[in-house]
Symmetry: C2
Subunit: 125 residues, 2 copies
């Protein structure tokens, strides 16, 4: 059977990582699926939650599925909405933050390369 999975029907796991609040994720297509070059991960961040403020030596390509959030990029906050595509370059400090007042979770896809530039698997790929 081909790999066809729906993000709304796939179990999400709480992200256990320092600096993270109210976030869950699921690997939709990853190294366990023999994805050769990059992985698709689905994230949900609850109102008032955030991803870690961090940087790493590989890029993100992000697609906003639903909800609203702010992303820290190049030292400034930028508003995000459904349909937005975002490139987070390697080594760029970034964080996704969902306002307390948000009426729904912020859902996005985050793609990462399978291998880090310095070698070894990318976490969560």
């Amino acid at each position: 059977m081909p790999l066809i999975r729906n993000i709304h029907e796939t179990e999400m796991n709480t992200v256990q990582m320092e600096g993270v609040q109210g976030a869950s994720m699921s690997v939709m297509i990853g190294r366990d699926d023999q994805a050769p070059h990059f992985a698709m991960r689905s994230f949900a961040v609850q109102p008032g939650g955030h991803t870690p403020k961090h940087q790493h030596d590989y890029e993100h390509e992000v697609y906003v599925v639903s909800g609203n959030a702010q992303v820290l990029l190049e030292g400034e906050q930028h508003e995000l909405k459904a349909g937005d595509a975002v490139l987070v370059p390697a080594n760029e400090l970034h964080q996704f933050t969902v306002p307390e007042s948000a009426s729904e979770p912020f859902r996005f896809l985050c793609f990462v390369p399978i291998e880090q530039n310095c070698g070894g698997p990318v976490p969560g790929s």
Copy 2:
């Protein structure tokens, strides 16, 4: 300025390729944006339209944004709906077909590696 683009606010170009009908696309994040490993492309296929029935030596990772279609994979047709993630492995024959009766275009993201396995740029990356 960071790269933040909305798929609903980005101009789509008609796909001029043998075997394609009623399809348009836009590169959301690609080699012109210094994407180092993979490209995000946005596609829309009109009711009654289809992508080419073809195969190539690199994979697709597809995410369905809206609408419905069928995908040919492993010799069979599979129904697709919003939120579906699909892995099209390298060298696998595939085609997306939108029924004439569809009430809206079929919109999806299709990710490809920047480089082909045998070297050289992936078309449309």
